[in-house]
Symmetry: C2
Subunit: 218 residues, 2 copies
DNA sequence: AATAATTTTTAGTTAAAACTAAATATTTGT
DNA sequence: ACAAATATTTAGTTTTAACTAAAAATTATT
């Protein structure tokens, strides 16, 4: 597999996972910042290699073989992201670019040892699940914190209210994107909740909980 | 810099470091497993980029700029080797191939954080020195253990006697390639010495000490 | 010093992966 | 349903980094 082929397979995987329909040539071209004609060329090549199903003018889907390759790339990408954040103290938003390079390193042993070294993490710093060696992966959904029941857990991935005031509040309370939040207790009366973040317990109001997006395992 | 250009610059660096004379086209072709004609093409390109000095039929030398790039690649290669051995428990002889890939990852921040994470190591698992951020590097020499004075330190990089019996002895005493050995005391009478290896002190005879090669800082 | 052997370069090809422009399908709108 | 708009493919070109074969320069040998 060339670097370019891997990038295409990954792009098709990400574009296709939301939908059941085949992925269009233009969508791939957009994602990859190339021209549709380049995509067609590559799709013919990937079809010959048995990685995609391609019918002229009808877009492509990944074959099982193609899907397995995509998942192994996603696995590598996300494990490296965990490494960069947990071990090298990169911040949430600095990891993607470097992981895009690291995901192409070829060594089964490397990635499996890395997995073990990181403690077999199940999600990356963006809250996305990490496929296992066999390509199995939990699904996650994005929900507002306020929707979570007590005892549940999630990773902070975004905000609904983007005002300076709200962002300043988060900063002051040590809540950052990528942090793991567990809901300890909910107060149904006023919608406030007791949560733990980075080992610290705090109480937050409904207004806060209604503006924080989390990724949670389904 | 493309991947291929980086590989050429690194090859020229390694071939040129032993000698003062320019590196020949054929030597580069051998090292890179390509043909001389491909090397000539690339040398013209690297000369245009200001990385090598190239006179027709006279071989090439690296410019200061080229040398700096070579050293940054060597730095990355050797730091990744330390990571693989120290953190992921790869063995001495498994790291090279993977480090050949990792050395091409482009991120200043990554490599400097990795350096810090590893505790700013000065040598790699083969006993070769790791260039600093600025390209400075200690020189090392290969010597027999028996040549070392008391209080000195080195990394085991090879054996003179390759007999099964000797290798079995090393294995039994927990001495492996890549291990750091410190000389605690020498007995000039019989040439035996007290050494520490992996935190364990042992006493070895002259015959042993005369057959172990170490790399030591100059 | 002249010829032979070797090394290096030049000239022309190839394969991968991109591109533009033109042709062909498909989808959309009336 | 048919024309217009959009999407996709085809055909032909470019660039990078390799290659082979032939020419030219350097080095070695007698």
């Amino acid at each position: 597999m060339t670097l370019s082929e891997e990038d295409y397979v990954k792009a098709i995987y990400h574009l296709g996972k939301e939908q059941s329909a085949p992925v269009s040539t233009n969508a791939i071209a957009d994602q990859m910042s190339t021209k549709p004609s380049s995509v067609t060329d590559m799709m013919i090549k990937l079809a010959e290699k048995g990685l995609v199903n391609h019918k002229k003018y009808q877009g492509v889907t990944l074959t099982d073989h193609g899907k397995a390759i995509a998942l192994s790339i996603v696995r590598k990408h996300r494990l490296w992201e965990v490494f960069l954040v947990d071990k090298l103290h990169f911040s949430w938003d600095e990891v993607h670019e470097v992981a895009e390079q690291l995901e192409h390193i070829k060594s089964e042993k490397l990635i499996n040892h890395l997995d073990k070294y990181l403690g077999f993490p199940e999600v990356d710093p963006h809250g996305d699940p990490i496929p296992s060696k066999k390509g199995e992966m939990k699904k996650t959904v994005k929900k507002l914190l306020i929707e979570l029941p007590a005892k549940s857990i999630g990773i902070c991935v975004g905000v609904k209210d983007t005002s300076q005031a709200f962002l300043r509040f988060l900063d002051k309370n040590g809540i950052a994107l990528g942090d793991t939040i567990s809901v300890l207790d909910r107060e149904e009366f006023d919608g406030s909740m007791q949560i733990a973040i980075n080992g610290i317990e705090i109480h937050i109001s409904q207004q806060i909980a209604a503006n924080l997006f989390l990724k949670i395992p389904e």
